[in-house]
Symmetry: C2
Subunit: 187 residues, 2 copies
C-alpha cells in the first residue's frame, strides 16, 4: 500500500517499477512526469551547479517520497540517480494536480506536508546544537532514537562514534538509561 496521501489517488495514477543501481530516473531540465515513492533501494537527487559542481540535494530512503515539487513545475530541476537497486512507484503529476479538487486528498496532503515541515524544522534545530552530548540528548527527547544508533547518528549529523560516546556520557550522568546493549531511553 502507498503511504498517505497518495493512497487516495486512483490506482491508475501509479506506475510501479524496479530500479537498478546507476539508473537515471530523470534529468535536470526533463519534462516532469510526477513524483516518486521509493519502496526499497536508495536514490540520490543531484544538481549540477553553474560551474559543474555536483551537489547532492537529497538522499531518498525506503518508504519516502521524492520530487513532490515537480508536480508544480514544468521541468525537473535536478537529476535522480539510483544508488542501490530497489523498487518504486511513480505517481502521475496530472493525477496529483487533479487530486487537489478532492478535499479529502487535499487535506490529507496538507496534513502530511505540514507534519513533514514540522519534523524538518525540529531536526534542523537539533542539528544546530553544537555539543554532541546536548545534541544526542535533544535527539532522544525528540524521539529520534527509534532504529539503530547508527541511523540515529546520521539523522543528528554526527559520526556514530561521537554518538556512542555521548550516549555513554549521558548514561554515566544518569540522564539516560541503557537497559541493554544498543537500547537507550530517558532516565
Amino acid at each position: 500500500m502507498l503511504p498517505e496521501p497518495y493512497d487516495l489517488l486512483p490506482t491508475t495514477a501509479r506506475q510501479s517499477q524496479t530500479i537498478a543501481a546507476g539508473d537515471v530516473l530523470f534529468r535536470q531540465g526533463a519534462q516532469t512526469r510526477g513524483l516518486y515513492v521509493l519502496k526499497t533501494g536508495r536514490v540520490h537527487l543531484e544538481r549540477v551547479g553553474p560551474n559543474g559542481e555536483r551537489l547532492i540535494i537529497h538522499r531518498a530512503t525506503s518508504g519516502t517520497s521524492f520530487a513532490e515539487a515537480s508536480v508544480f513545475s514544468e521541468r525537473y530541476h535536478c537529476d535522480a540517480i539510483v544508488m542501490d537497486a530497489g523498487a518504486l512507484v511513480r505517481i502521475d503529476k496530472s493525477a496529483v494536480l487533479a487530486g487537489f479538487a478532492n478535499p479529502d486528498f487535499a487535506r490529507a496532503y496538507g496534513r502530511q506536508a505540514a507534519q513533514q515541515v514540522q519534523a524538518h524544522r525540529q531536526i534542523m534545530e537539533i542539528v544546530g546544537i553544537r555539543r554532541a552530548e546536548d545534541r544526542v540528548m535533544a535527539g532522544i527527547v525528540a524521539g529520534l532514537l527509534d532504529g539503530t544508533v547508527i541511523d540515529f547518528a546520521a539523522r543528528l549529523q554526527l559520526t556514530h562514534e561521537a554518538t556512542y560516546r555521548a550516549l555513554r556520557a549521558l548514561v554515566e550522568a544518569g540522564r539516560v538509561n541503557n537497559p541493554s546493549r544498543g537500547t537507550y531511553r530517558l532516565a
Copy 2:
C-alpha cells in the same frame, strides 16, 4: 499582504495582533485555534520533554508562518513564546480546513509546502557537509548567500568566523569572487 497560500483565504479568517517579548501565544495542550504568520519579531516554539527538558522546536522569523500542523490537530503540542516584539496574523484553523475544498487554495498550499520541504531537504544535505569550506561552497552553489554573511553562516550552522575564513579560502583558491567587501559570487 499575506504570503501564499493564505492570501487566498477570506479576509475574515485573519486576525492581526501585535506581540510583546514574553507573550505566550499558546501552550502545549491548549485547544488549537490556527496557524500564525509572523510579520515582524521573533517567536520560539518550545516543547517540554517528559523529564522537564526544554527543547526549542523552531525559531520563527519575519515573513514566515508557524504552527501550520496545528490545523490538523486538536491541541498544540508545543509552547509559542515571543522573544522579540512584533506583529503577526493568526489564521483560523476552520478557514484553512474549509479552504481545502477550494482547489486553487489546495494547490497553492501544496506547491508552497512541497517547495518548503524541498528547501529543507537541501539545507539538511548541505549542513551535513563536514568541512567548512565545502559547506560554504555548497551553500553558495545553492544560492543561500543572498543576505549578510552572518545570516548565511547561521543557515549553514557555522559560526560567522568560520564562514569568513572559508570564503577567503575559496576566494584564494579562485573558486569564488569577492568583487567588493561583503559580496561573494561563484568564480
